[in-house]
Point group: C2
Chain length 576, copies 2
């Protein structure tokens, strides 16, 4: 096989360690090294040595069967026998997404384990799964955002073939697959990219240290590394979309932002494959440029996460006001979120101590992804508590209803649909003891600020923390879990079957509310449907004409004048 490696930092040699020997690569221009090496056939293990240094994984390694410090393995993507020839891609505007973490979703904690629960996903009615990062990171257990081998599906999950099996199985059941990819930083362990070239630089800083070098000297190859990686998932793994982690931490001052370069390349691949491929940004900037078209000066991504929709809802439902929730808490803000996803659209944010965001006018609902719970909002709490652990079942149903009747793309988090009894805590498995200790201690210190006693903060490195976070599918034998599941199923079925209840333009949804009495009514105009919620302590009489489609509690309808009595902490959906 012809092997080509970008290693401008090699001064004299780049060698391939394979089959017990060392094969030198030839230097071509701009730091490229290459050779045609017959021993590098599918399944062969190899490593790279720069200037006679220790063996390192190939930066573009397709498989790291022995982990981040081990040998790379050649994968022949052509060899996989796909059966999904009729799969036509993901229509975001008509989809409900389901975020899952492969390691904790099933007892097996593998790609195969996800396949084993596919009946559940299909009967739930979601349209696609979104996998938290699936590429090789240090250790076995982890959320995945500390990944370092961006081209190699995590061995502990089942490696390349395991992921392909999962995507193929999903497609055969009518489910799409979105994969969460991390291009803004690399994990602290097993990251050898800087030995090869200027992947990182000091000009821009992120929460995780040096920024990725996408606009400095040598950045063409760094950009190609990222863009090619995106294309690889879409092409070699048939995934339907990518969730781009924390794009606000990718600072690119050059004339063409790397995300625009990526979206243009993906559109070209989409056209060639005849299947649309979706790029979805996680961004907290409330900036339209990510989803506007390049013609309008934007980057052309399909959609952007809008966490403020969550925050506005969560703060109202729980009354929490710590950290970023201090920016939220009013029904007025919730109404704004329900209508336009972004609450801060050019207003002063006390938590950020600056004006934040910009009007989303001109964007449409399918360009925003919203959720009532996700891995971050649950797992970044000290105890990893789900919304279910923080508020009443009635309020959880309110959250689900607002989510699944929203004009934006809804996303569920694994187990949310049955009010899972398990938390989702922060867990790691760093092999370097010093790093492991630092992470454990950092976590304790972080939450000491919020008044947590050190001994109460789950230790990320402790395997028990990981185990606690694993879904318990036997929850479903209990009625309050199966009751919640029925509620979610009914909502998803309604969203799917009710005309015009999917994504819509921003002006399709209107909101009426009373901050004193704590009720709120959403109208979805085109769908001809209203959602009323009562967050007050008492039942409320509301004027709400139409037929009740769903209600979370018995609703008293007073005949003749369209008045209903809505109990506290309950929600009703009516159709006019």
């Amino acid at each position: 096989m012809l092997l080509s490696v970008w290693a401008p930092r090699a001064e004299a040699t780049v060698e391939v360690l394979v089959a017990g020997g060392r094969v030198p690569l030839l230097h071509s221009e701009r730091g490229r090294w290459w050779a045609d090496i017959p021993e590098l056939m599918a399944g062969a293990d190899y490593a790279l040595s720069i200037d006679g240094g220790p063996p390192r994984p190939d930066p573009r390694s397709a498989h790291q069967p022995a982990g981040v410090d081990g040998m790379s393995r050649i994968v022949d993507h052509e060899a996989f026998e796909w059966t999904d020839t009729r799969w036509g891609g993901l229509d975001l505007g008509r989809s409900v997404l389901y975020e899952l973490h492969v390691g904790t979703f099933s007892g097996a904690g593998t790609f195969r384990g996800v396949i084993d629960h596919m009946d559940h996903l299909v009967s739930l009615g979601v349209d696609a799964i979104e996998l938290m990062p699936v590429v090789e990171f240090s250790g076995v257990r982890g959320w995945g955002y500390d990944c370092v081998d961006l081209w190699a599906p995590h061995s502990a999950y089942g490696g390349p073939d395991g992921l392909k099996d999962l995507v193929d199985a999903c497609h055969s059941r009518g489910l799409g697959v979105v994969v969460d990819v991390v291009y803004n930083h690399l994990g602290p362990a097993g990251n050898f990219l800087a030995d090869f070239g200027p992947y990182f630089d000091d000009r821009h800083h992120t929460n995780w240290g040096q920024g990725i070098n996408v606009d400095g000297p040598g950045s063409d190859e760094v950009r190609a590394f990222i863009v090619d990686n995106a294309l690889m998932w879409l092409r070699d793994y048939h995934v339907d979309g990518l969730r781009l982690d924390a794009v606000h931490a990718i600072v690119d001052e050059s004339a063409t932002h790397i995300l625009e370069q990526m979206s243009v390349a993906v559109q070209r691949l989409s056209a060639a494959r005849g299947v649309p491929l979706r790029l979805i940004a996680e961004s907290d900037l409330n900036a339209p440029r990510f989803v506007r078209s390049p013609r309008e000066g934007g980057y052309g991504l399909a959609a952007s996460w809008a966490d403020e929709w969550h925050h506005a809802l969560h703060a109202v439902l729980t009354g929490e006001s710590d950290g970023y929730y201090s920016d939220f808490g009013s029904l007025e803000q919730l109404a704004k979120a329900l209508q336009q996803a972004w609450v801060y659209d050019g207003e002063y944010s006390p938590h950020r101590d600056r004006v934040h965001g910009r009007s989303p006018a001109g964007l449409s609902g399918e360009q925003f992804l919203v959720c009532a719970q996700n891995h971050d909002q649950i797992g970044n709490r000290a105890g990893g508590e789900r919304l279910t652990a923080l508020t009443s079942p009635g309020r959880v149903k309110i959250a689900a209803t607002l989510l699944l009747t929203s004009p934006f793309v809804p996303l569920l988090f694994q187990g949310e649909e049955w009010a899972a009894s398990t938390p989702f805590q922060y867990f790691t498995d760093h092999q370097d003891p010093a790093l492991g200790r630092a992470v454990s201690e950092g976590r304790r210190n972080e939450f000491a600020y919020f008044g947590w006693r050190p001994e109460d903060v789950p230790d990320p490195q402790d395997a028990a923390t990981f185990e606690r976070s694993r879904l318990r599918w036997d929850d479903l034998s209990q009625s309050h879990h199966s009751d919640m599941l029925a509620w979610y199923r009914a909502l998803i079925a309604l969203r799917r079957n009710h005309p015009h209840l999917g994504c819509a333009e921003l002006d399709d949804l209107t909101v009426d509310y009373d901050a004193d009495q704590q009720w709120l009514i959403v109208q979805r105009t085109a769908a001809g449907l209203s959602v009323a919620i009562n967050l007050g302590v008492d039942a409320r009489v509301l004027r709400l004409k139409g037929d009740v489609l769903l209600s979370s509690a018995p609703v008293l309808e007073k005949l003749g004048d369209g008045l209903i009595v809505l109990p506290a902490d309950s929600v009703v959906i009516v159709s006019w």
Copy 2:
């Protein structure tokens, strides 16, 4: 007067030191402190003390009569008697700009000194002067980019009234005024802003250290500081435009880039005043977003410097290939620059070691400012040599001709028009001896890299370096200087009077050239005019129909077949 100061870093008190006393300010919200202080009348000197600390200038001080470490002085902008009521602003598309440095332009080195030479500027025919930074910096002598009191015209130049007198005088003679303002960093001496608030932060780094905080906590007031400053020049000093220094070093990841915020605010002021005000960016990014309209996702600036036009020309004329000139040197690149200003429009730049820039398609000529010489291109050389010192008078005339027949906005540098005998060297006057030594040493080290002996590099701190850089107006008594001046005058008059020879769309100019024979012919389509240059060692016969309008050397016309003989290092302009 009501004084309001943003000082969120004050923990207990902000006091005004005025008239021998200390007046405490009251704290209002978000770090604002204020009081109505009768003693602060026009002409009063005052300083600010934070938490009982040493006296500091007001960050928005309008005048620092005793320099960057001295007291601030209240200025009543309403009191100045303007006479320029009929001045209607600057039409960039029909203008030639003239960059000057107040300290070296005249013997006096003051704003008044500029007024004294205004006849020269008027008779030269330029439309506006562009002043290198005019606000207070440490010491008396300096280029001005190390300025720190961004609201206070440099005292050594004549302070606020001196600048107003200059602007008023310019307007009365039909000249516009553009001021160079520096918002990307502050100078190293006399910079007390960080005592007051988070003006700088560590997330972004520039060549000059910490970046300006325009998108982090507290940035609203930093942005207001900058935007209000821009408006102040346009409103209180009647300047017609601002040259925004090195905007590529202002990193703003927020939803609305500060330059867009600025351009929107300036447009509002323009509308209110009924006079257009121009924002011109210095940017080396070759990115259309700076000049595209906000509707197109851009920042809405009027124009951007395009230094590559200079580099392409300079490298061809001089054969130099050091530093960034290594990216240039071919007639092909010169032809591209002449047509579209940007040479690197998405191509790999060896000097930057990355792909650089983006196509300027869709932009128009008046959105680019070009020059054959400017303070940077001259002064950033070890010896500060003008183009005149590097090549033949014939080639200098070629440069002038290409510049003044270009479809972009031409800018001259003081003395260029007479091939001034004086260099323009890098000079400083840092009052802190350690800083002064560091700057001198840094300069020597920088040029050691290019083979300069330390003793040959002019010492920036030496007053003689400054004096050497002062224009010698008595140059004009010598014929080779007056001859060059006549050439520039003729070209400027031609640009002004010849129909359609000003700025134009990018497709108005076509270029034909022969890289072997080293000739090049520019056609300005709408103007019906050709410019032919011969950079070869021998005279060339060129086919060039039309009437000769100007030629830098005797041109032999062969009758009947449109052939002319163009001597080496010469240029001719013909009209068809």
